[in-house]
């Protein structure tokens, strides 16, 4: 049983009593292709999960998913993906890959507590709370932001976008 099979089993079990939900799982033609789970609520809200070995689980959710778009969120494990799917189904909140998130919301997206992130950074919980205030970002050093993002398990990437359409990554380190 691979990670996708485990997630499918968990999702089917968790929502077995939900008569307002339908599930469809699709497996790839090629062994190394993408696997798919789609959950559709009667009200038209859709949660989709994609999995590919070495990539992890990609998730996108909403009422108006557009053909050819990418996933909004990526999770490394079946457990993390399942927790997120359950959260999305229960709250009905769409994913928002294209929208900017405040730092506190970014932490919550990855289901991390302030005390745990603060411990990883070697600062106090109140210190992290201060950093997460939107106004703090205006004066935050890039290195501090890089450490904060790293403590969430991510990597800070800064891009410069130009009117003619060019986009280049700025070296952070």
């Amino acid at each position: 049983m691979n990670a996708f099979d485990r997630l499918e089993k968990e999702v089917r079990s968790a929502f077995a009593e939900r008569s307002d939900l339908s599930l469809r799982a699709d497996r790839p033609k090629a062994p190394d292709g993408l696997h798919f789970i789609a959950l559709v609520r009667d009200d038209g809200f859709v949660v989709e999960v994609e999995w590919q070995r070495h990539r992890g689980f990609g998730i996108v959710a909403g009422r108006d998913l557009v053909f050819g778009s990418g996933v909004d969120e990526v999770y490394a494990t079946a457990d993390a993906a399942f927790a997120r799917v359950r959260d999305i189904v229960e709250t009905g909140h769409a994913t928002s890959g294209g929208d900017a998130l405040e730092l506190g919301d970014l932490r919550k997206l990855y289901r991390l507590l302030q005390k745990d992130v603060a411990a990883r950074m070697g600062i106090s919980k109140s210190g992290l709370a201060q950093m997460e205030r939107p106004a703090s970002l205006a004066t935050m050093q890039i290195e501090t932001l890089r450490r904060l993002v790293a403590s969430l398990g991510g990597e800070l990437i800064l891009n410069a976008r130009f009117p003619e359409g060019g986009e280049r990554r700025i070296a952070v380190d």
Binding site: R12, F15, A16, E17, R18, S19, D20, L21, S22, L23, R24, D26, R27, P28, K29, A30, D32, G33, L34, F36, A38, V40, G44, V46, E48, E50, Q52, R55, G58, V60, D64, L65, V66, F67, G68, S69, G70, V71, D72, V74, G97, G98, G165, E167
Partner: protein
Amino acid sequence: MDRNERFALFIRELNGAAPAATLEEARTLLETVLNRIEDLHSGADFNPSNWRNDGRLYPPQDDREIVSGLDGVRTFKTVGHYVSFAANGAIRIVALRSAFDDNRFG
């Protein structure tokens, strides 16, 4: 143009295009029409290896092909939709919500 507007334009142009005669032609037609619209209107560079949403719409790549169960038909899963190409050049795009008749819980 937002993504919904671009998708609507893509469908209009696909419907107005000369029909394809083979599966390969159909797939190329879809790719050509969508990539042209996205080059013009998405503002994002073509990078189909991007898995995360980069604001651009992509034709289905080979690793999105699923088992279709139909001879002479290749079906691909893309966000919110299935797209199938038939040996006679037909293209069928089905919204995910329409593909759920027999999959209900409860």
